[in-house]
Amino acid sequence: MSSGTNGSGPAVGSDRDGAAGGSDRDGAAGRSASLAVDGLVAGYGEVIALDGVTVMAGAGSITAVLGAHGAGKTTLLRAVSGMIKARRGRILLADHDVAGRSPEQIVRAGIAHVPEGQGVIPELTVEENLRIGMMSWRRGPRAGRVAALEEEYARFKPLADRRRKPASTLSGGERQMLVIARALLARPRVLLLDEPSLGLAPRVMAQVMDLIVQLSRERGLTILLVEQNARSALAIADHGVVLNLGRVVASADAAILATDVALRHHYLGF
């Protein structure tokens, strides 16, 4: 398996490592990057959905973001990826503030967001869906892109089998693989996953969770995982953050959170 720094187009590799000082690259050395959100305020029109949220995700760690419906978990991911504007606060990717940038700029900076509800484009083929993931790359030799695609096909065999078929023919679990593979093709340093197990059968859910752990260990990806299923999220996470009504009500090691019965009952429903 790749070490994570090669196997991508050469243009992407050198840019990611901070050389040449491209204006939309945050030149941090090495692959892993921490993500920190500091006093974030964001909302929709009149509604404030995040009311001063601070979360620290260490480089290469998995952080579970938990809480009831409407707690602000999805809003948090949307604010980090630039889908909605942060009204106040900072978003620090390896100590560079990316708050206020557009989604197109943020994905180039190294944060990939897989929104809830998957976002497979059913009218396009599997391969076309994947190629979209590489749209943030700088121009480089085609061979780099082909190699990157093959790498993902090697990891996700069902996608390789269906590469020229419309994405509408994929099952729920395969679609989840597709959107994760697409996000990985953007060569992110931070991955935001919003309810990746939604609507999946338990066995497939377990496969997705295993995949997330693998991505974190193998590629050193920093992962922010929003999950309704708090139990399985805490089982794989290093750290957990619990949101309620737009505020952080608990932030601790995942193991500690999992055993705090009062907290679990109150906010997480188990």
Partner: protein, 292 residues
């Protein structure tokens, strides 16, 4: 029998014009869910540009090419200045804005070029072609018209399907959020879409103006017919736009030829109403729900 052939062939020629307008409307609709009411006005303006260039340079082809380029520029400029600010606001704003653009273009044309009907040259001979002495009802210029629209459509189709730029445009049209999150600069894609629509409109304008003469309102009727063709084919479907245009062109040609040429406008509008009532998604639309 000869009459049938003549009506069919000339119907195909006009049908191609309607297809070009329909395609330009579909391009914009797919990208932005907007109906560009100013499309006819843009085509008219670029045709005026063509005629001025032709007068000054005495070269038809210079006028032709510059009209197409002007179409690209006018489309892109319209999107950037006037349409982009309406994104995210109530849809009615965008509708009013494009109607406003139409009024602006027609007014500007009247001011700068005057309201009188002007004749527009054809690229090739407009004498009817004959096969073994039988008049076909179409001329060399008509053949050129069909070829030009077909060629442009094919080039666009190939670009959309097989290039990365085309994939970018399709992704942005199908799911702008996913496109953004993948790094596609959706704004730029929209501008390109409008530029291409302007190009198609400009093409339609220079191809049809020899028949209709050129005046500030000359493209209004063509716009309605192009819109009808687009609705017939389904506003989401480029293939539908082409087929819709052909069906409409040939159908109206039969109506005008066999019944009464005064009936064609009535029938066209009647077709539009019927299609909107019975199958508003058009003949070619899949059952795709629109994502909210």
């Amino acid at each position: 029998m000869v009459e049938f052939l003549q009506f069919t062939l000339s119907g195909i020629v006009f049908g191609m014009i309607y297809s070009a307008i329909a395609l330009s409307l579909v391009l914009i609709w797919r990208g932005t869910r907007l109906l560009n009411f100013a499309q006819g006005g843009m085509a008219m303006l670029t045709t005026y540009v063509a005629i001025e260039v032709i007068y000054k340079t005495h070269s038809y082809w210079a006028g032709f090419v510059i009209a197409l380029v002007a179409g690209l520029i006018l489309g892109a400029a319209s999107e950037l200045t006037v349409v982009r600010p309406t994104a995210g606001k109530p849809e009615l704003n965008a509708v009013i804005v494009t109607i406003g653009l139409l009024i602006l273009f027609e007014g500007l044309a009247g001011i700068f070029f005057g309201g009188q009907y002007r004749s527009f040259p054809a690229a090739f001979s407009v004498t009817g072609l004959r096969v073994n002495g039988t008049p076909l009802g179409v001329s060399r210029f008509d053949v050129f018209t069909v070829a030009a629209v077909l060629a442009t459509t094919l080039i666009l189709a190939v670009t959309f399907r097989y290039t990365t730029a085309g994939l970018r445009m399709r992704a942005a049209a199908f799911n702008a959020t996913v496109a953004r999150l993948s790094g596609i600069r959706v704004g730029r894609v929209l501008t390109v879409g409008w530029a291409l629509a302007g190009l198609l409109g400009a093409l339609a304008g220079v191809l049809v103006s020899p028949s209709t003469f050129l005046y500030p309102n000359s493209m209004d009727a063509i716009f309605v017919l192009g819109f009808t063709a687009a609705v017939i084919g389904g506003l989401d479907s480029p293939a539908g736009a082409v087929v819709g245009g052909l069906l409409l062109g040939v159908g109206l040609s039969y109506v005008g030829g066999y019944l009464n040429s005064d009936l064609t406008s009535l029938v066209a509008l009647g077709v539009l109403v019927v299609v909107l009532m019975i199958r508003p998604n058009g003949l070619f639309a899949g059952a795709r729900m629109r994502r909210v």
